[in-house]
C-alpha cells in the first residue's frame, strides 16, 4: 500500500473541480498513448519530420497539460512545438517523456491517501474525487 506524500499547497493546485479531475485524467491517458505511438514511430524513423497533422495534435495535448502544470512544466523555455522548426519523431518522444514524468509528479503531489483510498482533494467544501494509486498511472511504455 502506498503512503500519501505531502500535498502541494491548495493555492498551487490546478485541479480545482470534478471537471478538472476528469480533464486531467483524460489528458494523462492521451499523453501516454501518444508517447507510445511516437516511440514506435521513432524506433522506425527517428530523424523523420513529424507531419503537421500529428504535430498539431501533440501541441493541443501539450497546451492542455501546460494549464495543469503551470510553472511545473519540464522546461520553462518550452511550451509547444513550432512547426517551422521541423521537429523530428525523436524530438517529440524526448519532450513527451519529460511531460510523462512531470504529469506523474503532479498527480503524486496532488492526490492523498485517506481511509484506504486515493483521493483528489478539492478546495473549499467541494470534498474529494476518488482515484487510484498514482503508481498505477506511471508511464511504463510498451
Amino acid at each position: 500500500m502506498s503512503s500519501s506524500p505531502v500535498l502541494a499547497p491548495a493555492e498551487e493546485r490546478f485541479v480545482k473541480s470534478e471537471a478538472d479531475v476528469q480533464d486531467f485524467e483524460r489528458l494523462e491517458q492521451q499523453l501516454h498513448s501518444m508517447l507510445t505511438e511516437m516511440s514506435e514511430l521513432s524506433k522506425k524513423r527517428a530523424n523523420d519530420g513529424l507531419n503537421k497533422f500529428k504535430l498539431k495534435l501533440v501541441n493541443v495535448l501539450l497546451e492542455g497539460i501546460n494549464k495543469f502544470l503551470g510553472d511545473q512544466r519540464p522546461f520553462k523555455e518550452f511550451e509547444t512545438f513550432d512547426e517551422n522548426d521541423l521537429p523530428t519523431n525523436s524530438d517529440v518522444v524526448v519532450m513527451l517523456s519529460q511531460y510523462a514524468a512531470a504529469i506523474f509528479q503532479h498527480r503524486v503531489e496532488n492526490t492523498e491517501y485517506l481511509d484506504y483510498k486515493w483521493w483528489w482533494p478539492l478546495p473549499g467544501k467541494q470534498g474529494a474525487v476518488a482515484t487510484k494509486d498514482p503508481n498505477d498511472f506511471k508511464y511504463r511504455g510498451k
Binding site: 524513423r45 530523424n47 523523420d48 519530420g49 513529424l50 507531419n51 503537421k52 513550432d82 517551422n84 522548426d85 521541423l86
Partner: protein, 457 residues
C-alpha cells in the same frame, strides 16, 4: 539584370507553378523541349480530342485529294505553309523560330498518296506515318503539322486559359487553317504576345505532349524494320529504309497496328519528372562521400554541382520549378548556380516575394571546406532587384560563426537574406522526400526561420 529563362507567366507577374496549369507554360526566348503527339489525341478518351484527331486527319488527307485533282501546286504550297508553327514554341529551338520544309520535301509527301495504294484509296489514319517514307520529316515536323492544322482550336484554348489566369492579350494577325474551306485564312485574334518581339504565343495542353511521338521512326527502325531493308550500316541507311517502306507498306502497317494495340501504355510526358526516392538517396550518398574541393577546377566540384542539381530540382518540386543550372563568372571566378522560379506556391515562398521581392531563388553551390566572406559577397552581388534579395548557399558544412554574423549584418544593413543549406540539411530533406510526412521545402523554411530569429529586432 533580367530574370533567368523567363516564362510568359513570370513576365506578367502571374506566379503559377507548372504543375498547376493545364498547358505547358511557354518560355519567352526558347522552345519547350516537347512535341505534340497526334496519337495522344487519337487514343484520348475525350470525345473532343478524338474529334480533333479526325479533323486533323481529314485536313491532311485533303492534301491528297488536291493532288489527285491536279492541284498539286496548291497542296505543296499549303503543306509548306503548315510545316512550321512558331507560335506554340515546341521543339529544341533556342530562338522560338523554325524553318519550313522545302518544295521538294513537300512534293515527296504528296507522292505518298500516289505511291502507296492504301493511302491512294483511303488516305492516312495516322499521318505520323509520313516519317517512315520521307526524308527530313521527323518528330518536330509532325508536331508542327499537327499544331498548324489545330491552330484554330489552340487559339480558342489559349484565349480561355489567358482569361482564367489573367494573362493580358493583344490583337494579332495570324494565318489560320480553315477546316471548312481547307485553306489558310488571315484572322485577327486576341492572343498573348512575346514582350521581346510582339509575336503571338499559343498554348498547348500538357496532355498532348510527349518527348517522342508514340509512332516514331527510331523505334520502327530498331525493332520492326525487316532485316533485308537495312542490309548493312551505311550513311544512306535511313534513305534505304524509307525507300523500302514505300514498296513494302505492310511492314509499316504491322508496326502501326502493334502501336495501336499498345495504345493503353501511351501517356503524355511531364515537363519535369522527379527522380525516385532510391535515386535521391543515391544522390545524397554520392554528395556526402565527395571530397571537399582542393581548389579551382577540381572535378569533385563538378560532381557536387551535378548531383545537387539533380537532387534539389526533384525534392523541391512541385513548389519550386527549376529554371536553370547556370554558370556565371564573378571577379574571374566560375560560379555554378541553381535558379528556381518562385511560384508563391507555399506560404514561405509568398513571404520571400513580399519581404525580399524574390522572383527567382538563386542557390549558389560551393563544395568548399569553409564559406568565406568572398563567397558571401559573390552571392550578395548577384542578388539584384530583378531576382530579389534572397539567396541560398549550398555548402558542405555549417557557416562559421563569423560568417553567420556576416549574413546577419547584411540583413541589418541592406535587408538581404542569405541562408546556408548543408549536408545535414540535405539528410533531412531526403528523409522528408522519402517519408512524405512534410514537404522538403519546409527545411528551407526552417533555415530561414532560424536566420530570422537571429536577426536583430
Amino acid at each position: 539584370m533580367p530574370i533567368v529563362r523567363p516564362r510568359l507567366t513570370d513576365f506578367h507577374n502571374i506566379l503559377l507553378p507548372q504543375a498547376q496549369t493545364d498547358f505547358a507554360i511557354p518560355f519567352l526566348d526558347e522552345d519547350i523541349p516537347l512535341y505534340l503527339d497526334p496519337f495522344l489525341l487519337w487514343r484520348s478518351p475525350s470525345q473532343q480530342d478524338q474529334a480533333l484527331h479526325t479533323s486533323l486527319i481529314n485536313s491532311f488527307n485533303h492534301l491528297g485529294y488536291l493532288a489527285k485533282q491536279g492541284r498539286e501546286q496548291d497542296a505543296i504550297n499549303l503543306l509548306i505553309a503548315l510545316s512550321e508553327c512558331d507560335e506554340v514554341g515546341l521543339g529544341l529551338s533556342r530562338t522560338r523560330q523554325g524553318i519550313r520544309i522545302g518544295a521538294q520535301t513537300a512534293e515527296k509527301v504528296l507522292t505518298l498518296f500516289h505511291d502507296v495504294p492504301q493511302y491512294y484509296k483511303a488516305g492516312f489514319v495516322h499521318f505520323e506515318e509520313i516519317q517512315f517514307f520521307v526524308e527530313h520529316i521527323s518528330k518536330d515536323r509532325i508536331s508542327d503539322f499537327a499544331c498548324s492544322f489545330l491552330k484554330s482550336f489552340l487559339i480558342d484554348y489559349t484565349i480561355q486559359q489567358c482569361q482564367t489566369i489573367g494573362i493580358p492579350m493583344s490583337m494579332v494577325h495570324l494565318q489560320v487553317y480553315s477546316y471548312r474551306e481547307n485553306k489558310l485564312k488571315s484572322e485577327n485574334v486576341h492572343l498573348p504576345v512575346n514582350p521581346d518581339n510582339d509575336k503571338p504565343i499559343i498554348f498547348v495542353p500538357k496532355r498532348w505532349l510527349r518527348f517522342t511521338p508514340w509512332i516514331n521512326f527510331d523505334e520502327y527502325f530498331a525493332e520492326s524494320c525487316p532485316k533485308d531493308a537495312k542490309p548493312e550500316s551505311t550513311p544512306d541507311e535511313r534513305v534505304n529504309v524509307l525507300t523500302f517502306n514505300r514498296q513494302n507498306y505492310d511492314s509499316v502497317l504491322e508496326f502501326v497496328a502493334r502501336k495501336e494495340r499498345t495504345a493503353g501504355d501511351c501517356t503524355n510526358d511531364p515537363l519535369f519528372a522527379q527522380i525516385p526516392v532510391s535515386s535521391a538517396k543515391t544522390c545524397l550518398e554520392a554528395i556526402r562521400s565527395l571530397p571537399l574541393s582542393s581548389g579551382p577546377g577540381d572535378r569533385n566540384d563538378r560532381e557536387y554541382e551535378r548531383q545537387m542539381a539533380r537532387l534539389l530540382a526533384s525534392v523541391f518540386y512541385p513548389q519550386l520549378d527549376l529554371a536553370a543550372a547556370q554558370d556565371r563568372t564573378d571577379s574571374g571566378v566560375l560560379i555554378r548556380d541553381l535558379i528556381f522560379y518562385n511560384n508563391r506556391s507555399h506560404p514561405f515562398l509568398d513571404e520571400l516575394i513580399t519581404k525580399y521581392d524574390c522572383r527567382q531563388i538563386v542557390m549558389e553551390m560551393k563544395n568548399v571546406r569553409q564559406i568565406d566572406g568572398g563567397n558571401i559577397s559573390q552571392l550578395n552581388r548577384y542578388l539584384t532587384d530583378q531576382l530579389g534579395r534572397f539567396g541560398v548557399l549550398l555548402t558542405r558544412r555549417p557557416l562559421p560563426a563569423r560568417m553567420f554574423r556576416n549574413t546577419i549584418d547584411l540583413w541589418s544593413a541592406h535587408r538581404r537574406c542569405i541562408i546556408a543549406l548543408t549536408d545535414e540539411d540535405l539528410d533531412l530533406i531526403v528523409n522528408l522526400f522519402e517519408s512524405k510526412q512534410r514537404d522538403p521545402i519546409d527545411v528551407l523554411q526552417k533555415k530561414y526561420v532560424e536566420f530570422a530569429r537571429a536577426c536583430p529586432g
